[in-house]
């Protein structure tokens, strides 16, 4: 692997955003193919980061910063990919948000970060998101995964509303719906006809991969 890619790999593992962006630019200037950089530097770096978290060396902020560094590098590579009419292999496209009436944000954002770090394209719609917005976004992005967060017993019903809205829009078969948040659980997922439930952000990645057969 070239020196630049080695350094890019190191920068992502260390969660250094600015160096990661600069090294990505250097890589392009050195005529390294963006897909090569992604396959040889970025993806392996994120695997190492995941491993360090598993073994207890890394904590959530280390993980989030690594994901940020990866994102910064990807922002450099994406236009180059487009110009070459190439596409990054993403594991899937996820539309995620906290349902209507609910403003709890942190858990949902953590799940979004972990999914994008794991190689998914993630569209984060924020909080207090009406069912119709989820439907629009799925239609627009062609997503195959919908993530619904609800932290209140009162707003859990909003998760059901999104499943129904997807059904009505004829999009239900195109997507896997995963849900999460303090009051949700596997039984609730079953009750409302969602495909999966995860208790935390790590588990969320596993559940989504499993649902997509990855």
């Amino acid at each position: 692997m070239s020196d630049i890619l080695n350094q890019l790999h190191t920068a992502v593992v260390a969660g250094e955003t600015d160096p990661a962006r600069e090294l990505a630019e250097q890589a392009l200037r050195a005529s390294i193919a963006p897909l090569t950089a992604i396959d040889e530097a970025l993806n392996p770096a994120m695997e190492i980061v995941g491993g360090k978290y598993e073994t207890g060396e890394y904590f959530i902020p280390d993980l989030v910063m690594a994901a940020e560094a990866m994102k910064a590098a990807m922002q450099v590579f994406e236009p180059a990919l487009m110009a070459r009419q190439e596409e990054r292999q993403v594991l899937g496209t996820v539309v995620i948000g906290t349902v209507e009436g609910d403003i709890h944000e942190i858990g949902k954002s953590l799940v979004a970060t972990m999914l994008s770090a794991a190689g998914f394209q993630v569209h984060d719609l924020g909080v207090d998101v009406p069912a119709s917005r989820f439907v629009e976004q799925v239609r627009e992005t062609g997503a195959n995964v919908v993530g619904l967060s609800a932290l209140l017993t009162t707003t859990m019903l909003g998760q059901e509303a999104v499943v129904e809205a997807l059904q009505e829009a004829g999009l239900r078969d195109q997507v896997k719906v995963v849900i999460g948040g303090a009051p949700a659980g596997p039984e609730w997922a079953e009750t409302i006809g969602a495909d999966g439930y995860a208790e935390n952000a790590n588990e969320a990645v596993g559940v989504v991969k499993q649902l997509l057969g990855i």
């Binding site: 902020p61 403003i103 942190i106 017993t153 952000a201």
Partner: protein, 484 residues
């Protein structure tokens, strides 16, 4: 001398407040309520209506702090002022809004239903250590749209203690107000002798969501006490530095006091919170972390410096069952809060990051509360001389047990625990079945619940409560309220 824990020097408090006032101006506070934004603009804040941001000048916030009362009472069903928010007085109430309940002996929690909530209320009513109750149990056997006010409905039917509560939506606040009016007689009576205080949570960082902002203004309008529950989560929704989190807490609370006092100057409001030292491994919000407790005690010092009543969520645990972690976290939190002189300490009974309730834990925590109140009373100079006279009088061979001095003073000096706390000889303990703390607590739960005496509310009050509940339940699609 009342013992005290203090984390902040006067100078540090002043720096915290000065930074908080600066934040109110730049970057300002996001306010997702047009009513509040216009009010702020009318009183000199620089408001960007499109961006929903208010830049609040320090003097506007300072004036609000001045008009806010430094103390007020909550009243019980008999009209007695039994809870005093103000000074260094301490009071305890159970933690709020559990979505799970843990049965004795279980390792898995489950969703609570009406019967669990009723049992909880019968228990809380009988535990003298608890100065107030809370709407602690969210019932799963009613439509979730009505989950928030339904808790209060049950509370008012089963106990006369004052209530710490909160709404989950804009509309349900007025249902809850109507329920309170049903027991107090009129809106005026509710304002004059408030029975309940409402938690309202700004969203970290520096945001008033529509829901909580409307709740805050409704409280002000009707002079129903509001309790600001600001909760920076260190390193996640607030600075990772503990003092940085206290600065953010102060800014959020000051913005709340400002909006509240502009609606109705002089309406009662509490400087409270539920921050947490975010766990960087699990991504959870531990209420039992020592740093959580340090932030709580520190912001309470800031509130006291401003002359406002204080509150905190302390005395809880993140353990999943009633075990050693459960005991030590709850114990440390309650003692620190008591020594910090926090007026309302909410937490007893709560496990698992404020999400799971245990009746056995509530009973154990009542013992902790007893000890916490005792330590806060401190070393009292009961007589002069302090000991000279009685020691001389009893003399060298003396038996203090045989003096009326002992018989008189031990009751004053000792907190006498219930049998939940084991102080027996080993053989005595074995003879009673070698029970663990939790097993002893389980027995006590049953005893207190069995001894519960109904409230004897006037028939017309009960019918009024039921009429309100039935009417609103019907609009939530429930024709018959669950059996009680």
């Amino acid at each position: 001398m009342r013992p005290k824990v203090e984390f902040l020097s006067r100078e540090t408090i002043e720096r915290i407040l000065s930074e908080a006032y600066d934040l109110l101006d730049d970057p300002g506070v996001r306010v997702h309520s047009e009513r509040a934004l216009r009010l702020l603009a009318d009183h000199g804040a620089d408001v960007d209506l499109a961006a929903q941001v208010a830049h609040i000048p320090a003097d506007l916030a300072q004036r609000a702090v001045e008009t806010a009362p430094s103390s007020f009472h909550l009243y019980d069903g008999a009209g007695q002022p039994v809870v005093h928010y103000g000074g260094d007085d301490i009071q305890f109430d159970p933690g709020s809004a559990a979505i799970e309940i843990l049965d004795h002996g279980a390792t898995q929690s489950r969703e609570p239903v009406t019967a669990d909530c009723v049992r909880f209320l019968q228990l809380a009513d009988g535990l003298d250590a608890l100065d107030a109750v809370a709407t602690s149990i969210v019932c799963a056997d009613v439509p979730q749209e009505m989950a928030d006010w339904y808790r209060l409905y049950l509370v008012l039917l089963y106990t006369g203690k004052p209530v710490v509560t909160g709404a989950f939506a804009v509309e349900t606040w007025s249902v809850m107000k109507d329920l309170l009016v049903a027991v107090t007689g009129s809106e005026e009576a509710l304002a004059a002798q408030p029975r309940a205080v409402f938690d309202v949570c700004p969203s970290p960082p520096l945001l008033w969501s529509e829901i909580t902002c409307e709740n805050l203004m409704d409280c002000a309008q009707y002079r129903v006490p509001a309790e600001l529950v600001s909760m920076p989560l260190t390193g996640a929704t607030g600075p990772a530095t503990l003092l940085g989190a206290v600065v953010q807490h102060a800014a959020e609370c000051l913005s709340g006091v400002t909006i509240h006092q502009l609606v109705n100057p002089g309406a009662p409001i509490v400087w409270g919170g539920s921050p947490a030292a975010f766990d960087m491994r699990a991504g959870t919000t531990p209420m039992g972390a020592i740093e959580t407790m340090m932030i709580d005690c520190s912001y309470a010092e800031v509130g006291k410096h401003l002359g406002l009543p204080t509150h905190a969520y302390l005395g809880m645990s993140d353990a999943k069952i009633v075990d050693a972690q459960c005991g030590f976290e709850s114990g440390i939190g309650a003692i620190l809060a008591a020594l910090a002189g926090i007026n309302m300490i909410s937490g007893p009974g709560m496990l698992d990051f404020e999400s799971c309730f245990s009746l056995e834990k509530l009973v154990i925590d009542a013992e902790i509360v007893g000890m916490a109140k005792r330590i806060a009373t401190g070393m009292v100079e009961r007589e002069t001389p302090l000991g000279l006279e009685i020691i001389r009088q009893v003399g060298h061979a003396g038996n203090f047990l045989a003096t009326s001095h002992t018989r008189h003073w031990f009751r004053e000096e000792l907190f006498i625990p219930s049998p939940v706390v084991d102080r027996d000889f080993r053989r005595g303990w074995e003879a009673k079945g070698s029970l663990t703390t939790t097993e002893r607590a389980h027995r006590r739960v049953a005893e207190i619940v069995a001894a519960y005496e109904p409230l004897n509310l006037p028939d017309e009050v009960v019918s009024e409560l039921e009429a309100i509940a039935q009417r609103v339940a019907q609009s939530a699609g429930l024709d018959h309220l669950p059996e009680r």
